[in-house]
């Protein structure tokens, strides 16, 4: 598990050019993620993703709809 894997998940989603609310367990099978990282993706938890080392630009691109602005 590493922030590299977390960013891999977000990068793959970003390349699909979709704005989504969450990334569920079925979509991250095969990625070496911690339980905390999986939960942050499933919840679309912006602060947790940032704290866990997700790139802010990828967080923004994938979970844009979750931002107040």
């Amino acid at each position: 598990m590493s922030d590299y894997a977390l960013n891999q998940v977000l990068y793959a989603k970003a390349r699909e050019h979709k704005m989504i609310e969450s990334i569920g367990a079925d979509e991250v099978a095969g990625y070496d993620l911690s339980a905390e990282e999986r939960a942050a993706l499933a919840d679309g938890d912006l602060d947790a993703l940032f704290r866990l080392g997700a790139n802010p630009y990828l967080i923004r691109r994938v979970f844009r709809r979750r931002f107040a602005l």
């Binding site: 050019h17 802010p56 630009y57 990828l58």
Partner: protein, 275 residues
């Protein structure tokens, strides 16, 4: 030798085009500044535009992430995948292959270990400024990318030195092109981080004051932490301005516009260098 005939810097932000109805008054002011920049750029009749820009993790990921990269392709997507979101039709801007390859070679010879890309896809970094400044899409560009988004980043001082190198390259170039320099990014913005949407107009005005007064060195002396604190993670893109300023030490600038636009999540400035 080639000649620098124009130099300018502007902010970029996706919402400038993605949400065109937002902040109409500020949008009008900012776009008036870009319209003036477009007029001056056209009047300078450049043959090529060296664009100091940054990737937003669309070309470069953590598997292969250059600090600096020069685009030598014959064409550059601006935009492609982001077209729907940016509300800018997908198009390709012409590259300047020979110029780009010569810049790459000269950089390596001079100790600037530039990476190289033959195919780049741009987002708001190039697409939005080009939409307003080069709508015809006929002017060849050579993108010079700096990692401003995935720390650790190259120092602002190195961006200043990079600009100085590009200046020496242009001065020594055997072909007599008319060259424009354009840096895009900044000024302050916090994006994708817990305080997303914050803007620091006080810092933005200080940055613009340094540009106006020909004090680019003051920007080059900033540290990553200085910028992160006062300009936010998006403020790190000021490296692209610093590269332009490093090519023109002591030259004063004219601020064409400044608007801290909440709806664009960005302190948006544009400045023209008085060559």
């Amino acid at each position: 030798m080639a000649t620098i005939v124009a130099a300018a810097m502007t902010s970029h932000a996706p919402n400038i085009t993605a949400t065109p109805a937002a902040a109409p008054e500020q949008r009008g002011h900012f776009l008036a500044g870009l319209a003036e920049m477009r007029k001056r750029l056209a009047a300078a009749r450049p043959d090529v535009v060296v664009m100091f820009v940054n990737d937003h993790v669309q070309n470069f990921f953590y598997d292969n992430l250059p600090a600096f990269c020069v685009g030598v392709g014959a064409r550059h997507w601006a935009p492609r995948g982001a077209a729907d979101f940016l509300k800018i039709p997908s198009r390709q801007l012409p590259g300047a292959v020979d110029f780009g390859k010569a810049l790459l070679k000269a950089g390596l010879d001079a100790g600037f270990d530039l990476a190289v890309s033959h195919e780049l896809e741009f987002w708001d970094d190039v697409s939005v400024p080009a939409h307003f400044l080069m709508p015809e899409g006929t002017l060849p560009i050579v993108p010079v990318l700096t990692n401003c988004v995935a720390p650790p980043l190259p120092t602002p001082q190195r961006s200043w030195q990079l600009g100085g190198f590009v200046r020496r390259f242009i001065d020594a170039r055997p072909v007599g092109e008319r060259v424009a320099l354009l840096g895009t990014g900044g000024i302050s913005h916090w994006i994708g981080v817990p305080n997303t949407g914050h803007i620091n107009p006080e810092w933005d005005r200080w940055v613009l004051d340094q540009v106006r007064d020909g004090h680019g060195e003051a920007l080059a002396e900033l540290s990553f932490d200085d910028i992160e604190r006062d300009g936010g993670n998006g403020g790190q893109e000021i490296r692209n301005w610093i590269a332009v300023l490093g090519a023109l030490p002591g030259v004063k600038g004219e601020v064409l516009t400044y608007e801290p636009v909440k709806e664009w999540l960005t302190g948006c400035g544009a400045a023209w260098m008085q060559l």
